[in-house]
């Protein structure tokens, strides 16, 4: 019994300690971000590896999610005779929720895990230590460019996801099922508000971007320098950031859309 209490206390202290270390790394990353302005090509490279290379999975997933939305939305809407609202249904669900959330989940498993594994392995093979010995700060040279590169990529990928999803919805709804093209687009245009919907979606994906890359960088930097340690850290990145995305999404939605 006493042992259990002791273990619980130990776990809580460990958790708080890790949170502190993570926040310290986050603060140091922001503090050392000047290098990203001085040498933008470092960030560009990370936008390529985290963003551009994630495009295929984002585009394909977005298309399929949009197609499913088109099918299911039509099934339900036609019961009430309002299949002309299909366009606004597809666009609103994507721009407000599915775009930012699903893109972030895919990003966490595609780019977040890669960031953790790369930094963890750099630590395990002493590349980080070598960099420090060469008087180059790894937080400035390795961590900060990855943070900003991933952070810039995230909203762009979410936008891409939503755009492809709308294409998918159009494909199934208009081309395949035969919903009127004019009402599909005009209803969408009328229903989607730039500030309320699109901007909030962008803010969401920005917040998810900070959460995913922050978690991925911390897990990589904190990983024990062994094969097992890196593999565990990679798993933790995907699990923790997925949970963080879903929890943050609820909080953000509650603030953004209450009563709207």
């Amino acid at each position: 019994m006493l042992d259990g209490v002791r273990k619980l206390g130990q776990h809580s202290i460990d958790g708080v300690w890790r949170l502190g270390v993570a926040m310290r790394l986050f603060a140091l990353t922001l503090l050392h971000s000047g290098i990203c302005l001085r040498r933008p090509q470092l960030v560009m490279r990370e936008i390529f590896t985290a963003g551009v290379l994630s495009l295929i999975i984002i585009v394909v997933s977005g298309l399929f999610v949009g197609m499913v939305l088109g099918l299911q939305g039509y099934e339900t809407l036609q019961k009430y005779g309002s299949e002309s609202a299909l366009g606004s249904l597809v666009a609103l669900s994507l721009v407000r929720e599915l775009g930012p959330v699903l893109a972030a989940l895919l990003f966490a498993s595609r780019a977040g895990s890669a960031i953790t594994a790369e930094i963890g392995l750099m630590k395990a093979t002493e590349q980080i230590a070598a960099m420090e010995m060469m008087a180059v700060d790894p937080i400035a040279r390795v961590v900060a460019p990855r943070f900003w590169g991933a952070l810039i990529s995230m909203p762009l990928l979410a936008a891409m996801f939503s755009a492809m999803g709308i294409m998918g919805g159009y494909l199934v709804g208009v081309v395949l099922i035969g919903v009127d093209e004019g009402s599909f687009w005009s209803q969408m245009q009328a229903a989607v508000d730039f500030r309320q919907d699109i901007l909030n979606g962008v803010i969401k994906s920005g917040v998810f971007g900070v959460a995913v890359t922050g978690i991925a960088l911390f897990e990589g930097y904190d990983a024990p320098p062994t094969a097992e340690g890196v593999s565990r850290a990679t798993t933790r990145t995907v699990v923790t950031s997925s949970l963080a995305i879903l929890a943050l999404d609820f909080v953000l939605t509650a603030f953004m859309f209450r009563g709207a």
Partner: protein, 267 residues
């Protein structure tokens, strides 16, 4: 200019409650190759990390080029490290960069030299380790010995005053072993460096070092020139140099009597 580049006095170091080094005195004279020897896990690599300033001593002082490391902040430490090179055990090359970019790394990070000049310098450094022709390869395409030579070229990129080698001979074939040993000696002499080599390869290192420190159980057990070490009568040094299985360093990890563990007789 002081005669000694590295001076260590009364150095103690512990990981948590586990003491690793218990009072080390060590000096490295300019232009010499110093070897630090001892069995695996005796704190040799930790000693290098202390000289490089990656960890701080719990007691005692480390001075490099007359500058004490203990009171140095990160900027001061980084300024000093630009004049130090370190060769990690397996090279620690940046795997996402080519051989050329690895050697150019410090030149690009710390200087504003134009790219054509960086190119010339990198090729000169690679030529010094015999790998000018390999500048376009990626680290994954190199053998262990070649990777270490590239790492050596990277370590001398900014013409440091001191190079530290962490187990430069581990896992090399006999040819690479000789090549690496000769390189360390030649670079030290021609570039006017000081080298500190952490190793347990007795035969290879005794061929080329000027002075040897033997570390055992956190203290300097023996010291001397290569010839003095070879003829040393100290039991530990004798066991180490001749690679004997049993001696002051026992073969068996401390354990219960064998019979008791097997349940044959009772303690």
């Amino acid at each position: 200019m002081r005669d000694n580049l590295v001076e260590i006095r009364g150095l103690h170091f512990a990981y948590g409650n586990r003491p690793i080094l218990k009072g080390i005195d060590l000096t490295a004279r300019r232009g010499q190759v110093i070897a630090i020897m001892g069995s695996s896990g005796c704190g040799k690599t930790t000693l290098l990390r202390l000289i490089g300033g990656s960890v701080r001593p719990t007691q005692g002082s480390v001075e490099v080029d007359g500058q004490s490391l203990t009171g140095l902040d990160q900027d001061g430490l980084y300024r000093l490290r630009r004049r130090m090179g370190m060769l990690f055990q397996f090279g620690a090359l940046f795997t996402d960069m080519s051989v050329f970019d690895n050697v150019a790394f410090q030149l690009r990070e710390h200087t504003n030299l134009p790219e054509p000049m960086i190119r010339d310098l990198v090729l000169m450094k690679l030529n010094a380790v015999g790998l000018r022709g390999a500048h376009g390869l990626m680290p994954a395409e190199l053998s262990g010995g070649m990777a270490r030579r590239v790492a050596l070229a990277r370590a001398i990129a900014l013409d440091p005053m001191l190079i530290m080698y962490d187990e430069p001979f581990a896992g090399l074939d006999p040819i690479s072993l000789g090549v690496t040993g000769n390189l360390i000696r030649r670079l030290t002499d021609t570039l006017g460096l000081t080298s500190i080599v952490v190793t347990h390869d007795v035969q290879e290192s005794l061929k080329m070092v000027d002075y040897v420190y033997f570390i055992s159980d956190g203290v300097v057990e023996a010291r001397g020139t290569a010839a003095e070490i070879k003829s040393s009568g100290l039991p530990f040094v004798h066991q180490f140099v001749h690679g004997e299985e049993d001696g002051p360093v026992p073969f068996h990890y401390p354990a219960e009597p064998y019979g008791v563990d097997l349940g044959l007789n009772h303690a």
